[in-house]
């Protein structure tokens, strides 16, 4: 396709030629031919057409805030002109070194260009860099620019860093982190999930001896017999309810309430899984309460007109209104409770995908969805959210629903409300910090009500407290 500018030149050339014809002037005719010959040669020498891009290295799995390095080689054949290519990195990647975009001139000879860059991955998630975009331009832009994509796939799994709490050395502090009701049971049946290899101890079954590992260790140095250890089937159960409502996006793309909530979820999951608890995870939406209700109706309302066909109605017919707020059943997002590293991996994988409005269920609906896995287990419930005094109904309704399934320690239900102080995360300037303090102050009565309801409220300001400090400072 020829460009607007080129069309103008053609018109000027034709005008000269027509003038030359009418005046019988050879000079005009040749001058009219000049731009046309110019364009014709220009079109004959085309812009580069054949571009291939290859990428060095392999797919990677890294932690948040780690660096990735990539090197791309673009080979351009044929044509002459400007070529640019760009490896589009996700917006949450911070380019630290090098460049991911290159502009260069392709002359008559084939050209190979290499670019490399280093970037820091600031946000969890699964990132797939499939295509490298390129653009080729005619040197004079006589023809339209050609934009295309070259296949050079690469995927990165950026894992969120869990906030481990096991490093706390103060015995007093550790004991204050609540455990499930059934935590008093210290033994259980071994499952088939492999945990680790350890030294043999009197009482271990002979069939559990791992002879291969024992032989390998003995060949290098004297060592005890090695036995396989399997995960114990425990009844200690913890349910983590993670809020994915819109207010969790408070903050920047990288540092927002949701990111801290995810890290807290992983930290708590790790804490309880390492203590042989079964951990279940459920994601809900704090705001979904407003249109809650679909789960209550499991059957369609019977068609009374058909049932009582032929019978006259004595009373005047009353028009029945449709239940307010009915909606399509929303997608449940939960992981069954389980123990061990497999469960830790499942939770980590789920956390890669979690985003705002990830679930459409309210807290009450979410509890209802998981109820078959809760009944009879007396679990510890942890609700990770950002308290909002203006919207309390959903939380109260959810906690009341949890009463049905919760065990009671000293007459109190085992419920922790882990409140991430999102306003303080979002505050950047001094004025905003004051506003955040005011907004959090507004939540104080709500905290009081929740404590009266029997829940343990843990407030966490990630800017001033570590995760462990927040758990230590909690009070029932």
């Amino acid at each position: 396709m020829i460009t607007q500018s080129t069309q103008e030149i053609i018109v000027s050339g034709i005008t000269f030629m027509v003038m030359g014809m009418f005046l019988g002037n050879l000079i005009f005719v040749v001058l009219g031919l000049f731009p046309i010959v110019f364009l014709a040669i220009g079109v004959l020498i085309r812009q580069p057409q054949d571009i291939t891009v290859s990428r060095k290295g392999e797919d990677a799995k890294i932690w948040v805030d780690n660096q990735i390095a990539d090197t791309l080689t673009a080979t351009v054949k044929g044509g002459v002109g400007l070529v640019s290519f760009n490896d589009c990195i996700p917006s949450s990647f911070n380019l630290d070194e090098g460049t991911n975009v290159k502009f260069f001139w392709k002359g008559v000879k084939d050209k190979q260009v290499i670019i490399s860059y280093r970037a820091t991955c600031a946000k969890r998630g699964m990132y797939e860099l499939n295509d490298v975009k390129y653009e080729t331009r005619h040197p004079l832009q006589i023809t339209d620019n050609q934009i295309g994509k070259a296949q050079a796939p690469r995927s990165y799994i950026v894992q969120p860093r869990p906030m481990f709490v096991r490093r706390i050395r103060e015995k007093k502090a550790i004991t204050r982190i609540p455990m499930p009701m059934e935590a008093r049971i210290t033994f259980g049946f071994p499952t088939t999930d492999f945990l680790e290899v350890r030294d043999y101890q009197p009482g271990d079954l002979y069939r559990n001896i791992n002879w291969k590992v024992t032989a390998r260790r003995l060949s290098s140095s004297p060592s005890a017999l090695q036995v396989n250890e399997y995960e114990k089937e425990g009844k200690k159960m913890v349910w983590i309810f993670l809020d994915s409502a819109t207010h969790m996006s408070l903050g920047t793309t990288v540092q927002n309430t949701m990111e801290y909530a995810v890290r807290a979820t992983l930290g708590l999951a790790d804490f309880y899984l390492s203590r042989e608890c079964q951990v279940g995870l459920c994601i809900y939406d704090y705001d979904a309460h407003e249109w809650e209700g679909s789960y209550q109706r499991t059957q369609d309302t019977p068609d009374l007109d058909n049932t009582f066909f032929g019978m006259d109605q004595m009373e005047t017919k009353v028009k029945v209104e449709e239940a307010r707020g009915t909606r399509e059943p929303s997608l449940s997002r939960y992981l069954f409770p389980d123990t061990g590293k497999k469960q830790q991996f499942r939770i980590l994988r789920e956390m890669l995908n979690v985003d705002i409005r990830y679930s459409g269920e309210s807290l009450k609906e979410a509890i209802h969805s998981c109820r078959r896995h809760i009944v009879g287990t007396l679990p510890l419930f942890i609700i990770i959210t950002m308290l909002d005094a203006s919207k309390t109904d959903a939380l109260y309704a959810g906690i009341k629903e949890l009463y049905k399934y919760s065990g009671r320690l000293k007459m109190k239900p085992s419920i922790i409300v882990f409140n991430i102080q999102g306003y303080k995360i979002a505050a950047q300037r001094e004025v905003e910090e004051i506003a955040a303090k005011l907004l959090d102050f507004r939540n104080k009565p709500l905290t009081g009500v929740l404590r009266k309801m029997g829940a343990t409220v843990v407030n966490w300001n990630p800017h001033t407290q570590s995760f462990a400090q927040a758990l230590i400072k909690q009070r029932a």
Binding site: M21, V30, I45, N94, F103, E135, H138, P139, I142, T143
Partner: protein, 250 residues
């Protein structure tokens, strides 16, 4: 030398040289000589101040003033450096060039309207070379302006300075080669025309149509062929995608 400075310098040289050649050609035409007494009324005092007779037969200070004025205008248009400026420069050059080229026309249409006998002191080859220079200037300035725009665009998109320099150099070399090639081909066509004309006249003489109709049909055919050729020249793929840009970190 910085490529941007080189581009600007080339523009200056081309603008000044083409205007000078067009002005020199103009002052040797009969149209200019008819207008000369009127110009002498306006510029006479200045010409007298500079010395010599304003309306002298062989080159006078008035002619120098006229050439100087044209060069000053050309300089102003070059300083503007945008599409409008260069468009005006082309119009100015063509305006000065037309009176001389009309002298070499077979049909003097203008004489039917105005009682004016077009005459020039320069040769036909001189006029042709000046015409080529004007066309080459027009196309070169048109594209150097685009190169400058592209430089700023690339800078905005995060290109490195060295890459921009390399691209501009490549574009300038390409443009000069293309202009040189076109000049050679056009000159070949011009000087080869009498021979082709001889061959075609014999064939065209037997056709039952006037030569004007044959000419118009030929022009239309050339136009259609050019448009079809140029349209088929660049197939576009992946349109609608965004061009590559430098990514910014968080």
């Amino acid at each position: 030398m910085n490529t941007a400075t080189f581009i600007r310098g080339s523009e200056f040289v081309l603008a000044i040289v083409s205007t000078y050649m067009a002005a020199v050609t103009m002052v040797q035409t009969s149209l200019y000589w008819r207008a000369r007494p009127y110009m002498a009324i306006i510029f006479g005092p200045i010409a007298s101040f500079l010395g010599g007779s304003p309306t002298g037969e062989s080159g006078s200070s008035l002619d120098l003033i006229m050439i100087g004025l044209a060069l000053a205008l050309s300089f102003t248009f070059w300083r503007k450096g945008d599409e409008t400026g260069f468009g005006r420069l082309f119009s100015l050059n063509m305006l000065m060039f037309f009176p001389s080229v009309l002298d070499f026309s077979t049909f003097n249409w203008i004489n039917l309207i105005l009682p004016y006998e077009s005459l020039t002191a320069v040769t036909v080859h001189w006029v042709f070379v000046v015409g080529l220079l004007l066309q080459a200037t027009y196309l070169t300035l048109r594209y150097t302006m685009r190169f400058k725009e592209m430089r700023s665009e690339l800078k905005e998109r995060g290109a490195e300075e060295d890459d921009i320099e390399e691209i501009s150099r490549g574009q300038m070399v390409y443009l000069s080669q293309l202009v040189a090639g076109t000049v050679v081909i056009s000159t070949g066509v011009y000087f080869g025309f009498p021979y082709v004309n001889q061959l075609l006249t014999e064939k065209a003489a037997v056709l039952p149509y006037p030569h004007l109709i044959i000419g118009v049909v030929s022009i239309l055919l050339i136009t259609a062929a050019t448009v079809l050729y140029l349209k088929g020249g660049g197939n576009q793929s992946g349109a609608g995608n965004l061009p590559p840009r430098a990514s910014k970190g968080v």
